[in-house]
Amino acid sequence: MTRLFRRFFVVSMLFSASFLWAQSDDESDRSLIIVGSDTLAKLVTAWAEQFYVLNPTILIEVQAVGSAATPPALLLGTATIGTMSRRMNADERDAFTVRKQRPPIEISLAVDAVVLIVHQQNPLESVSMAEVGQIFGMPGTCGNSVRPVFWRDLREDSVLADRKLQVFGRTATSGTYQYFRRAALCDGDPGIFVNEMPGGAGIVNTVARVPGGIGYTATSYTSNDVKILGIERPDGRVLYPEDPEYPLKRTLYLYVMTDVRSERPSIECEFLAYVAGEKGRDLLRSAGFSIPQVADSQSALGVADACG
């Protein structure tokens, strides 16, 4: 028995020794960690995968846990690139000014729409923004007083008349949630009756299977299993996500926070160059987003060019 333990002891000592020795290896310095929004997760993962094929020496990790993770990660240096499905707010920016003396580079990455989805067999075609506030918010949101509990409260002739509305939304740390709260709920609270789901895809999966379900999610997650609702304007016109005046359109952002040391920025620049290039844009479109029309200083291409 002691022989076994002796051998084990020796092996573990060697292990630990080599583990200390590994730190002298500089090769693994080329790593890229991307954190952030779940909405952009599939796209960023696909980009990372393709980028790795082109640059096998660069280690990429993608963590899509939610937009709220990006500012702290960039501040701590846990990641150098972060995506957010909302803009960084003033408080988050302040933290950069104080800690790092400069703000992160903001890039308008893609344009996405937040859509309302229902079950395929739901006869509902469109809702007004006021109704959206009634359905998803606490009573009193946006000046509405009564929450529709049954489908007949919303539309009198609904086939689903006696069923309750099953409302699905995202969790509080999601950028989609925060955008929706600002744009559709007048900054008010979402109802506690809203079933919170951690991922946008989960909402689509669930609403596709629940006849009385209604939820909100990003267009990139929708599929043919669910029906996308139009938004009624007070003047009667119904807007769909393809229309330019669709009210729930948002820009998705990418933030780059690099270190002042010389060698580090090049990895991020290479990645941005890939993202802005032809292959990157193709992937972006196939993921369901569109390219934003912005000035060069805010586009991936412009920034990639600038960092050279």
């Binding site: 028995m1 002691t2 333990f5 573990s12 292990f15 080599s18 583990f19 200390l20 020795w21 590994a22 730190q23 290896d25 310095d29 790593s31 960690i33 779940d38 997760a41 599939k42 796209l43 993962t45 696909a46 990372a48 995968e49 790795y52 280690l59 990429i60 990790e61 993608v62 963590q63 899509a64 701590l76 240096g77 846990t78 150098t80 789901m197 951690p198 991922g199 946008g200 895809a201 989960g202 689509v204 999966n205 596709a208 997650y221 599929s223 299993d225 270190d259 992937l283 196939s286 993921a287």
Partner: protein, 316 residues
């Protein structure tokens, strides 16, 4: 009334088999019959299950890296849990007297066994990742700061966290095995002049070795299926590189890794599944269940071999 309780047993067995059949049917249906979400053809689909690249459409990816990641995690976890668990079990079985300290240890073990896994995740995040990891970074990897090397979730911390989660399992299994060793063996060893540690390590331990393996295998099974702590300490949705490398020490301890249970969690909640895509989820679930089932069976047969020494006949 006896019939009633007997039928409870039957019901449980039925439910277990029913769930298993459900998974097999769904997975089989997808593999053999349906045509989504990847290409048609059984072999193609089987290949996809293991080796597919991440798909932009639905966010699913092959399981091979996850299996490797799970195995690496289990290997490193065993490195930590085996010595600690065995040593504590030896203490409880061979060295401990009936003092308050021993009672405290026993209560601690039972409590550790009952602590929700997510709490281990919280502790792992705070103590291992930010605490120890931050210190390691400050001492050894300061030139890479503020980009953290060990001050961030990774394989090592996940393995340590799971080692804590599984410590009670190993301790209980090894203690059982040690208790099953008849006292004659110990007495004979002492009579022949062996010291206490010689008795324990050279006479008793070899007899209890199957229990050690049984405990470790049970720990492995739990490590494969426990997802909650890994949400916080190291598993990721996708990592293009395996946590193994050709450079020493051959395992990348600071990397994040993919894990089988985490892949299932991710597929269920974050993947955009088409109507026939449930089969994919069933595949992942089936592989996981088979893996854990096989491990459990192995552990149990080892345990049975050890416990055959202690039987009391039932008068009923």
């Amino acid at each position: 009334m006896i019939g009633l309780s007997a039928s409870m047993v039957s019901t449980v067995l039925l439910i277990g088999s029913g769930l298993f059949i459900l998974l097999v049917a769904s997975a089989g249906d997808w593999l053999f019959l349906s045509s989504e979400p990847f290409e048609a053809g059984f072999l193609d689909r089987l290949n996809d299950v293991f080796f597919a690249k991440p798909n932009v459409e639905n966010g699913l990816t092959g399981l091979f890296p996850a299996i490797v990641g799970t195995l690496s995690l289990v290997m490193v976890m065993t490195l930590f849990v085996a010595p600690l668990g065995v040593a504590t079990a030896i203490y409880l079985s061979e060295y401990a007297r009936d003092t308050w300290y021993t009672k405290l240890i026993r209560i601690s073990i039972t409590n550790l066994a009952g602590v929700p896994a997510i709490i281990y995740g919280i502790f792992g995040l705070g103590f291992f990742v930010y605490g120890l990891g931050g210190q390691v970074d400050a001492l050894f990897y300061a030139d890479r700061l503020p980009s953290p090397t060990f001050g961030t979730p990774g394989l090592l911390w996940a393995a340590l966290t799971l080692a804590l989660v599984n410590l009670p399992v190993v301790i209980v299994a090894v203690t059982e095995g040690l208790d099953a060793v008849p006292n004659d063996l110990r007495e004979a060893s002492i009579a022949l002049g062996a010291t206490k540690s010689e008795t324990v390590f050279k006479a008793v331990m070899p007899a209890a070795l199957p229990s050690v393996f049984s405990g470790l295998i049970l720990a492995t099974a739990r490590a494969a299926g426990e997802v909650s702590p890994l949400l916080l300490v190291g598993a990721v949705k996708f990592s293009p590189s395996l946590p193994l490398s050709s450079r020493a020490p051959f395992i990348e301890f600071e990397q994040k890794f993919m894990h089988l249970g985490f892949q299932l969690f991710d597929a269920v909640l974050f993947a955009r599944l088409p109507p026939g895509g449930l089969g994919w989820v069933a595949c992942i679930a089936l592989i996981l269940v088979l893996l854990i089932g096989v491990l459990n069976v192995t552990a149990v047969s080892l345990r049975a071999a050890v416990l055959k020494r202690q039987t009391v006949e039932n008068p009923f």
